[in-house]
């Protein structure tokens, strides 16, 4: 781990310490079928109320499907069963916009910024009536967004688009953030920047992160949930998982060559 990341780095708290607190998110026996494909087959896990919980697994095991089911974005042709609770509140069958307004922030895979809109317009969309959008906080994290307000989001670099996608969500208060592969397709330097930002964000709001880059996982995650073929294959301390080369290789299909 590079020296300049030290200030934001906390020694991962022990799992027992985190487990003493009520989980912010509880997923029980979640099954998702889309067009006849049984993508999730009884997935259960919890997300601690602080820090980063990472959702791992090979391509196509259902990580994105899990996040989308939590935020209510399973396609209309899909069928979702099981229980998803944020705190005491059941999330299933509630429309996405209500869940999001209730404090569930979602940063999707591939950023999904509105390419034809300006940066400022992308941010303005996230404003909500009755609340003051936290532009100060967002521009402090991403000064670039302030400078490029009038630029079309489609002309931003991948890294800048990712910053915009995260910034958009941080304009409002969140109880939990769902972040799907934020470093996908980004240059190594930008990956480090995104990881730094997420590290700072996670100090104030719990994050459920889908991430393939194990260096980022090692830097950010305290807890890990590993999916395999639509089921939970492993849960526990993320750092422990990364130390077990054989386990990492069998679950994730990669060597645990963690680049810092």
């Amino acid at each position: 781990m590079s020296a300049r990341s030290e200030p934001g780095l906390r020694a991962p708290q022990s799992r027992t310490e985190a487990a003493q607190l009520e989980p912010i998110l509880t997923v029980e026996d979640l099954s998702v079928r889309i067009s006849g494909l049984h993508i999730l087959q009884g997935v259960s896990f919890t997300v601690a109320p602080t820090g980063v919980t990472v959702l791992l697994g090979r391509n196509g095991v259902g990580k994105t499907t899990t996040l989308r089911a939590i935020v209510g974005l399973t396609p209309p042709a899909g069928e979702v069963r099981g229980t998803i609770r944020m705190g005491a509140q059941s999330l299933l069958a509630r429309p996405t916009h209500r869940l999001v307004r209730g404090g569930l922030g979602y940063v999707p895979e591939d950023r999904c910024v509105f390419a034809g809109l300006t940066v400022a317009e992308n941010l303005r969309l996230a404003e909500r009536r009755g609340t003051t959008p936290a532009y100060d906080k967002v521009f402090a994290l991403f000064p670039e967004l302030d400078r490029r307000g009038r630029q079309r989001a489609g002309s931003l670099s991948g890294g800048q688009q990712q910053m915009l996608a995260i910034g958009r969500v941080l304009l409002n208060d969140n109880r939990l953030l769902l972040v799907d592969e934020p470093t996908k397709g980004l240059a190594p330097k930008v990956v480090t920047e995104v990881a730094e930002v997420l590290e700072r964000v996670a100090e104030s709001v719990p994050v459920l992160l889908v991430e393939q880059n194990l260096a980022v996982v090692r830097r950010l995650a305290r807890d890990a949930v590993v999916l395999s073929a639509g089921r939970v294959a492993w849960t526990g301390n993320a750092q422990d998982l990364l130390l077990e080369t054989a386990l990492t290789k069998s679950l994730l299909g990669v060597g645990a060559e963690v680049r810092a």
Partner: protein, 296 residues
């Protein structure tokens, strides 16, 4: 020379009519992915609403302020029907394309039948101010005022829609929704309100097309909406689903091609040329002139 000017301006009048119908269709499809075959019904309601108001509503009439009032009544009726159609029939069927097509096609047939049953199948003379029957001399061409009125109205509607999309919060939501509807909901926005709104805007524009089309043609008949709707769909596809500006360009192209070819070629050839143009656009640029972006 005067023939060319006359053909251009009557072509633009036709284009204006197409644009008024197509702009709403395009927004509705771009945002909500609904192919609304009942859009012609809104036009019919606008036309018959205006016609009825001019004859029956106190204060409304075929001339002066009474005529403006009659048109306003027709537009309000078309808007109301559009909102009801969205809330009652379309909303439960979002993301069920086949059912939507069945419902909207059925509704357009039922709507025409209802108009026919109420006021008969024959064309009725449309109440209109005297000045709209006259012509204006422009560079030697005698251009019907009804056509000019349509052009002015279409330009105003285009300006109003663009200003709305550009400057208002709902305009922003619609532009974003045309690009990625799911992401709009993922930002905590109830995108269904925007659906109702685009139906209302589309219904109002189509109803205005019905009223002013009645002025232009001088008559109103139950089937008018349906035949205009076919060309409006062609305009939407050529212009690019979801783009109001694309619809405007495409409407001008379609209106002019139709008018010029029908005059210089054989009558009816212009309509075939427009369909040919559609085929060429679909082959060379399937996303249409402006693609899937609600440009402001």
């Amino acid at each position: 020379m005067s023939t060319v000017i006359l053909l251009t301006l009557t072509g633009l009048g036709l284009a204006a009519l197409y644009f008024l119908v197509a702009s709403g269709l395009s927004l509705v499809f771009g945002l909500a992915d609904v192919l609304n075959f009942a859009h012609g019904l809104f036009l019919g309601v606008g036309a018959y609403g205006t016609w009825w108001a001019a004859g029956n509503l106190p204060g409304a009439g075929p001339d002066g302020f009474g005529f403006v009032f009659a048109v306003a009544f027709g537009v309000a009726a078309g808007t109301l029907v559009a909102i009801l159609v969205e809330l009652v029939l379309i909303r439960p069927l979002y993301s069920r394309t086949i059912e939507q097509v069945l419902v909207t096609v059925g509704l357009s047939l039922a709507g025409v039948a209802l108009l026919q049953a109420t006021w008969g199948a024959d064309a009725r003379p449309f109440p209109r101010p005297d000045w709209t029957r006259q012509v204006t001399g422009i560079l030697g061409a005698q251009v019907p005022n009804g056509g000019l009125l349509l052009i002015v109205a279409a330009v105003l509607v285009l300006g109003a829609i663009l200003a709305f999309l550009r400057w208002t919060r709902y305009g922003l939501v619609i532009r974003a929704g045309v690009e990625n509807r799911e992401m709009v909901t993922a930002l905590g926005i109830d995108v269904r309100k925007a659906f109702t709104l685009v139906f209302a805007i589309g219904g109002a524009a189509a109803a205005l097309a019905g009223a002013l089309g009645g002025v232009y043609f001088g008559t109103v008949s139950p089937g008018q909406g349906g035949s205009l709707l076919i060309f409006a769909f062609i305009v939407v596809v050529i212009g690019g689903m979801g783009s109001v500006v694309g619809s405007a360009y495409a409407a001008v192209v379609v209106g002019l091609v139709q008018q010029f070819v029908n005059y210089y070629g054989t009558s009816g050839l212009g309509d075939i040329c427009v369909v040919g143009l559609l085929a060429v656009v679909l082959l060379l640029r399937p996303q249409g002139i402006a693609g899937k972006v609600a440009t402001a």
